[in-house]
């Protein structure tokens, strides 16, 4: 039942326990309890909105930064990753396979901010060997949502 609740919340974080109870056939108390537990054990981390900042005329820049690491004595990749994710500029941090070791999503007000972060902070961290910065030019789809809404296909209002 936890999975059912999570699926509903992942699609609409504003769904209330009352609404979820109806949708799942659980009692409202059960839903509230299950959600509370999921929050406590950090299965649910946070409730957020997916925003198209371009529409809010909010100047911002996003970049994916590939980071190559140099294995160091007594220091695992986890601790280097931790060093990086403590910076608020790093929105997401992943360990990946392939030509780089870490992928870091960075936000900033403009290109300079991101360039500063990479040159002043990221590249100086012990164990960081090389960085590859890719600025994001346009966001088409975010977390399963298409940014520019596609043309709505109209159904016939009454069909038998």
């Amino acid at each position: 039942m936890l999975k059912d609740i999570l699926k509903i919340l992942e699609n609409d974080a504003r769904a209330t326990p009352k609404q979820i109870a109806v949708m799942t056939g659980m009692t409202q108390a059960e839903v509230t309890k299950t959600i509370k537990k999921a929050q406590d054990d950090r299965t649910i981390l946070k409730y957020k909105a997916i925003i198209n900042w371009d529409k809010a005329e909010n100047e911002h820049v996003l970049a994916w930064i590939g980071v190559k690491l140099e294995p160091q004595k007594d220091v695992g990749f986890d601790s280097i990753a931790q060093h990086i994710y403590r910076y608020p500029q790093a929105k997401s941090v992943y360990l990946v396979s392939g030509t780089v070791d870490l992928l870091v999503m960075v936000t900033g007000k403009n290109n300079h901010e991101i360039a500063d972060f990479v040159s002043q902070k990221l590249s100086h961290i012990d164990g960081v060997k090389e960085t590859v910065t890719q600025f994001i030019l346009k966001r088409y789809k975010e977390d399963g949502e298409v940014m520019e809404s596609e043309e709505v296909v109209k159904r016939q209002a009454v069909v038998l």
Partner: protein
């Protein structure tokens, strides 16, 4: 006689008795009314609110790009029939020979029409539980047969029983036409109930036509394919399609699975009237069967959530509502208002801008009910329920 009425008489005289014998669908006048009003929330639809999953659309596009634009075999592409046979075996444990026992049709609707034309002689009776899908009775009539509607009731969860049916069997009865999960009621028959109907079919040597177009949309109930019951494959015409499960209503593709003599007869009519189903639709259907089924599971889960919201919502506003076990409709009673279902639907539309289908469109036994489709967004369902709540409160007797 005025010139105008003369012209009208002339027209009527030149329309076949067959066409004159059937009525236009009861909902027709709604179309005009609806188009003149803005801001209507429609619970009147009979199709998914999803577009066809992308991998299915893509395969049809690819086939067009490759130039696969010719006729196919009349029965449908061999690969599609083969894949369909595999699917029916996996899904329902029923074995059909793809070369002689399957026919790909223009939607389940064509399959229904072909079945009637293939097995009905003038005067033959076909037993149909009512309320039922609007086309059932008319298809029987068009084929020269006589539809015998048997009432089903909300107190019995709109289920039909073998005893109910037996009372209506005469020496002219040729077939029983059932459609579960039911449009409009959402009823699903348990295996035991179907087995009793099967016994009746053997006792009176009847054919059973089982419209299973909604078979994938079942919630918390077990679905039994009628042809999978012991001894039933040889006397069942199994009708199915892609429209509801794969959100493919506009592609117009379905199928019939039946004993080879019946398929051969249907094939003849199909050959002279349709030739074959559009090639792109067949390519899409092939992908629907072969591809990933996750999108179907997700859609069903989503319908189930909305189903529960609508059932509870309708009950909360004071209507009695059978909890549907399949399809995507609720069929609440509006008897507490004292209105006919048509009056209710018309007034609800003009006063609160919510479109529903009057139950009477589905036959006599649908009177006093309305059909509400929950294949629409949760936000719209909630808003529609709010408006209906106001309307019911005002009109409750």
């Amino acid at each position: 006689m005025t010139t105008q009425s003369k012209t009208q008489k002339h027209r009527i005289q030149h329309i076949s008795l067959r066409a004159n014998a059937i009525q236009p669908s009861g909902i027709r006048k709604f179309f005009d009314l609806l188009s003149s009003i803005d801001g209507v929330i429609s619970l009147g639809v009979g199709e998914p609110d999803y577009a066809t999953p992308w991998h299915i659309r893509e395969s049809a596009i690819e086939s067009i790009e490759k130039g696969q634009t010719m006729y196919t075999s009349n029965s449908g592409m061999p690969e599609l029939r083969k894949e369909l046979a595999r699917f029916l075996k996996n899904e329902y444990k029923v074995d059909y020979d793809p070369t002689s026992e399957l026919l790909i049709t223009v939607g389940c609707s064509e399959a229904l029409d072909l079945t009637m034309r293939a097995i009905i002689d003038p005067g033959d009776e076909v037993i149909i539980p009512n309320p039922c899908f609007v086309a059932y009775g008319s298809c029987v009539t068009l084929a020269g047969g006589k539809p015998v509607h048997i009432p089903t009731y909300e107190v019995n969860n709109f289920e039909i029983s073998a005893q109910d049916i037996e009372k209506y069997i005469t020496n002219k009865t040729r077939a029983i036409l059932i459609g579960y999960p039911s449009n409009p009621t959402g009823a699903v028959l348990r295996r035991q109930k179907l087995a009793e109907i099967a016994a009746l079919a053997i006792k009176y040597d009847l054919t059973v036509i089982s419209d299973e177009i909604y078979s994938k949309l079942v919630y918390g109930a077990e679905f039994t394919c009628f042809a999978s019951l012991p001894g039933m494959k040889e006397r069942t015409v199994f009708l199915g399609g892609f429209s509801k499960a794969y959100a493919m209503t506009g592609w117009r593709i379905g199928y019939a699975a039946a004993p080879k003599e019946i398929i051969a007869a249907m094939h003849k009519i199909h050959q002279y009237t349709m030739m074959c189903v559009s090639t792109m639709s067949q390519m899409a259907a092939l992908e629907a069967l072969k591809g990933d089924q996750d999108s179907v599971t997700e859609m069903v889960e989503d319908y189930n959530r909305r189903r529960q919201v609508m059932v509870k919502g309708l009950r909360d506003i004071g209507l009695t509502c059978y909890e549907p076990k399949g399809a995507f409709y609720c069929f609440p009673s509006i008897k507490c208002t004292g209105m006919t279902s048509e009056d209710f639907a018309e007034k609800l539309l003009s006063e609160e801008k919510v479109a529903v289908v009057p139950g009477s469109a589905f036959g006599k036994c649908g009177e006093g009910y309305i059909r509400c489709c929950y294949a629409t967004s949760l936000a719209d369902i909630e808003e529609a329920l709010k408006r209906m709540g106001r309307f019911v409160k005002k009109n409750k007797k």
